[in-house]
């Protein structure tokens, strides 16, 4: 067992050692639906998952606001003792979030990519090795957000509704969107669920963009332990009521303040 040797003065040692006796609920980014369904099995130990829309990540301020609202709501349920966040730092979207009653457990991760790859360390190594990679996962594919035919269709429909009378502008907006990926040359697919359909779609994106396809081995341990414990300090941050999530610019990624 991966026990943190550091003594914690926060009184949550019991919580870390035995989350099975704890009543906790989960707030997760919708991007993880496939992974959480497969890890949760028939009878998951947590009481309820609330998913928030993955598109929120484009607007860190909005993400922060939406998570805070979901958190407040859960905290009003007196039977919930702790809340697990299936989020990373997500830019700075999680910075400043503060529980008022329930401790929050959050993985030390930059974003969903760190979580799927199993650690921020591995994420950084892969980023330095393949800086031109754009990451895909079943959730990114479902959300029609990753570069490729679905995104284009989705975006065209959106802008046609907004600026329909000006097709020239719509074309230009789509062209600009494409241009914004111009530095990428590789679709990197990370999956923990053997989702062949999503993998095939990712391959077709790579093909249509003229990119390489690369399959990266996912590592479910961080996500698994986030959901089931143990919540050792090395891999997880526990934020106590009244404290808030902050960025840590070292390898710990997150700290509470």
């Amino acid at each position: 067992m991966n026990q943190s040797s550091k003594k914690q003065s926060n009184g949550f040692n019991e919580m870390k050692a035995a989350p099975e006796t704890l009543k906790y609920s989960v707030i997760a980014c919708d991007v993880f639906k496939e992974e959480l369904e497969s890890l949760g099995g028939e009878k998951p130990p947590w009481s309820g998952i609330q998913y928030l829309e993955m598109g929120l990540h484009d607007q860190p301020d909005l993400l922060r606001k939406s998570i805070s609202i979901a958190l407040r709501k859960l905290e009003m349920n007196a039977s919930i003792e702790a809340i697990v966040f299936v989020y990373g730092l997500c830019g700075t979207g999680l910075v400043g979030i503060s529980p008022s009653r329930c401790p929050i457990i959050i993985p030390r991760a930059h974003d969903c990519v760190s979580i799927l790859l199993g650690s921020p360390k591995r994420h950084s190594e892969i980023l330095q090795k393949y800086p031109e990679a754009y990451f895909y996962s079943p959730g990114w594919v479902r959300g029609k957000r990753a570069p490729g035919p679905d995104r284009e269709k989705h975006l065209r429909a959106f802008y046609t509704q907004r600026y329909g009378d000006d097709q020239e502008l719509v074309d230009e907006l789509l062209e600009a969107d494409k241009e914004s990926f111009a530095h990428h040359n590789c679709a990197a697919y990370v999956d923990l669920t053997q989702n062949e359909k999503a993998e095939d779609y990712c391959k077709s994106c790579a093909h249509s963009l003229g990119w390489k396809f690369r399959k990266l081995e996912g590592d479910p341990r961080l996500l698994h332990d986030l959901l089931y414990g143990p919540w050792d300090d090395k891999r997880f941050l526990i934020v106590q009521p009244g404290r808030s999530i902050a960025l840590s610019t070292d390898s710990k990624v997150l700290r509470e303040q």
């Binding site: 760190s114 980023l127 330095q128 230009e172 907006l173 610019t249």
Partner: protein, 210 residues
């Protein structure tokens, strides 16, 4: 809406390149100064930035506005050159290793050009040594580093550390969505700016104080 400067502001806001170009030309022909045109561009882009932050518009709209601004700047540059206002200071700018985000950095580069800096844009995903070499080669007064990923903030730290290993004549400024003044201070950068307009102010202060 006969005022061509007002027209230019509107054209930037909606990202209309053609109107941006004609309005710029009309403004210059009817006696507006380069500075006034730049003021209009800055006002238009400022509005775009605000609406992006407020979630009203998205990245493609910002890019289209930036293209309109670029179009206008192309007409403006020869005028600035003719009027004899030569750039006195050089900024070398780029996005750090591992990071491919460049929309914000490009906006900063454009605004700095508009503010009469000689701008050398090195692009994205840059090893620390490449940036340092370019700074020396171009006799930079300022080096600008951008990072949009918390994952690449360590690369920004390493880049500044490499540059600060030896005494150098330039000042280092940093920016990008996750960057803060605290982080800038912590890694030994000389300045931080939250957006393109304040980068211009920061740059001016730094080059005049040295």
């Amino acid at each position: 809406m006969n005022d061509p400067l007002q027209q230019l502001i509107e054209a930037i806001k909606v990202g209309n390149r053609k109107i941006a170009a004609t309005a710029t030309q009309t403004a210059l022909d009817s006696g507006s100064s380069g500075k006034e045109v730049l003021g209009a561009l800055s006002e238009g882009m400022d509005d775009v930035g605000k609406r992006f932050k407020a979630n009203e518009i998205f990245v493609p709209e910002v890019l289209v506005a930036a293209r309109a601004m670029k179009k206008s700047m192309e007409l403006l540059e020869p005028i600035l050159v003719k009027s004899g206002i030569k750039p006195e200071h050089t900024l070398v700018i780029g996005t750090v290793k591992g990071d491919l985000h460049d929309i914000g950095k490009n906006l900063v580069a454009m605004m700095m050009k508009g503010a009469n800096f000689n701008v050398i844009d090195l692009g994205t995903n840059l090893p620390a040594q490449t940036i340092l070499d370019a700074a020396i080669e171009h006799k930079a007064d300022l080096v600008g580093l951008s990072a949009l990923l918390t994952t690449t903030m360590p690369a920004m730290r390493e880049t500044v550390a490499l540059m600060n290993k030896e005494p150098h004549p330039f000042k280092i400024i940093v920016g990008g969505a996750p960057i803060t003044q605290d982080f800038a201070d912590d890694i030994g950068a000389d300045g931080f700016a939250i957006d393109a307009a304040s980068t211009v102010e920061l740059a001016r202060t730094l080059v005049t104080s040295s």
